[in-house]
Amino acid sequence: DTFALVTINQQALFFNQINEGAQKAADAAGAKLVIFNANNVPSAQNDAMENYITQKVDGIILVAIDVNGVKPAITAAKAAGIPVIAIDAQIPDGDNVAFVGVDNTKAGEDIGKFYADYVKANMSGTAKIGVIGALNSFIQNQRLDGFKKAVADSGQQITFLDTVDGQNVQDVALTAAENLMTANPDMTTLYATGEPALVGAVSAVTSQGRTGDVKVFGWDLTKQAVEGIDAGWVTAVVQQDPAGEGKAAVEALTKLKKGEKVEPIINVPVTIVTKENVDQFRGMFK
């Protein structure tokens, strides 16, 4: 069997871990896995899927950039009898057989709730927060919206300062984060919606010498983030299980191939990593 995995880019660790998880599962199932990297271009995903359909692969795994813009290709795949499984980003009313992954809005709410509780417990209920986002990323926008909703619902006195655009690129995020801190000397907390943003935020806090008075919350662990957690100024990081998502997707395709049924929504839970549970993730960053 040949399965195709259409991903967003290979510059974020997250997507590469999906690839690895999928590859391992494919090897285990004796299937061939081909990977296409769309380099953040939505139409390239569409093009690649069409190419795979003409080539009649046995299944497609999709990490969508533009969740609406891939629908025609998914429909075409269905028509050609090729099952499509979406990972990480759900397709609204899509023809994909299943969705594997995290509900980003929901997980955003989770970390937002964790944050509000932290503010209540450790900062006497008041905090000012700056955000480093990636406006060009659909799912990162969802993570921000969920976060904001949970914070608003919590009733704590939390002021949202500026949101800056890190464009999902580390050095851009770093510069933006530094400027964000200069612009808001009274900022006490930071929220970063993805891996490049978190790397930029962590570097900026260090370089500006603000490790004493800024607490960082964010998504996707890296070595620097682990060090920050150890030092205490990175408070919590949402860690997804991308390898698990990749594995689950391939396993679902294998099942379908055998004629078995799969659940339309396969949830892969996230973990909020803090000082307490960081040790179990340390091994990833040796």
């Binding site: 190419n51 003409t54 629908k71």
Partner: protein, 312 residues
């Protein structure tokens, strides 16, 4: 025109096609070839217009952003209930207007095209982002609008037919009209064309109107094909378009342009992208292989046709 380069890129194109026909089974099948032409329609349309721009010695970096803006606005206006023919007309007019504004600064205020269209790139994509708030906006799959991107006519995908029509018109305009003559002349010696009594400023403005309108058309096709308008659409599209044009043998210094070359350049880029996917190339190797193929092939061709490609 730059005949040597056209021959060179034509041979290169054939070699690449041959290679993929041998290496993969799926490449030389009708569905795949039709896929390629459908997928490359936006590139072909914009590259044809960009050939005019570059031949005048200009550049238009804003085409990717115009494409994104038009794709999102098409989706938005369709969702708001505007009839689809009106949407198409409005979007093409919007493209023309954006081009006219940029062309005004370039032709009449003589600000370098690179700066004007780089500012345009930033502003226009910014507007698209603002409109969508970073989300993507769906187009009803039942809307007749999607015909433009998805339907087939006489066994050929509609986008490919649109691209063909645009290319024929562009070819005639470039080679058989005064306008095309002046475009080449402006690139060679703008002052000489002005002294010949030609309104060089209007001609220059018009090429930017062309490129932005073409980008708008590409945006419509893309929105119709994907059934969605996303402000992320067409990121880096400008470089892809310029690469196709330059690969075809048009000189970035102006004065030497060829539409046949542009078509071959664009198709070469499209075929390489398609072929590498079909050949199951590892995604880590894809950019390396793509760049290397292009460089080596241009280089070999140059060795065979010494003098065919000019450094300027």
């Amino acid at each position: 025109m730059a005949n040597g380069s056209v021959v060179s890129i034509a041979i290169f194109f054939l070699v690449v096609c041959l290679l993929f026909s041998v290496v993969t089974d799926a490449f030389l099948t009708a569905p795949n070839l039709l896929n390629i032409v459908r997928q490359s329609a936006p590139l072909l349309i914009v590259a044809a217009a960009m050939t005019f721009v570059i031949t005048t010695g200009g550049i238009d970096l804003s085409v990717g952003s115009v494409l994104a803006l038009v794709a999102t606005l098409s989706a938005v206006t369709l969702q708001a209930g505007l009839p689809w023919p009106l949407v198409i007309i409005a979007m093409l007019l919007l493209g023309a207007a954006v081009g006219a504004i940029q062309g005004f600064f370039i032709a009449y205020e003589r600000i370098p095209a690179f700066i004007v269209t780089l500012a345009g790139l930033s502003v226009i994509r910014g507007i698209a982002l603002l409109i969508t708030g970073g989300y993507s906006i769906p187009v009803e799959a039942t809307s007749p609008f999607t015909v433009i991107g998805r339907a087939w006519f006489l066994g050929v995908p509609v986008p490919a037919l649109i691209a063909l029509a645009v290319l024929v018109v562009a070819y005639l305009a470039f080679n058989e009209t005064r306008f095309g003559r002046y475009v080449t002349g402006i690139g060679a010696n703008a002052e000489a064309v002005r002294r010949a009594g030609v309104d060089t400023r209007l001609t220059t403005l018009m090429v930017y109107v062309l490129s932005s309108t073409a980008a708008a058309a590409a945006g419509i096709i893309l929105a119709a094909r994907l059934g969605s308008g996303s402000s992320n659409a067409g990121q880096g599209f400008e470089l892809e378009v310029i690469a196709a044009v330059v690969l075809g043998g048009t000189s970035l210094f102006g004065g030497r342009g060829t539409l046949v070359g542009t078509v071959l350049g664009a198709m070469t880029v499209a075929v390489i992208a398609n072929g590498l996917i079909l050949a199951h190339m590892s995604p880590f190797l894809t950019p390396i292989v793509t760049g290397t193929i292009i460089l080596i092939a241009i280089w070999l061709n140059f060795r065979l046709f010494r003098g065919a490609i000019r450094s300027r």
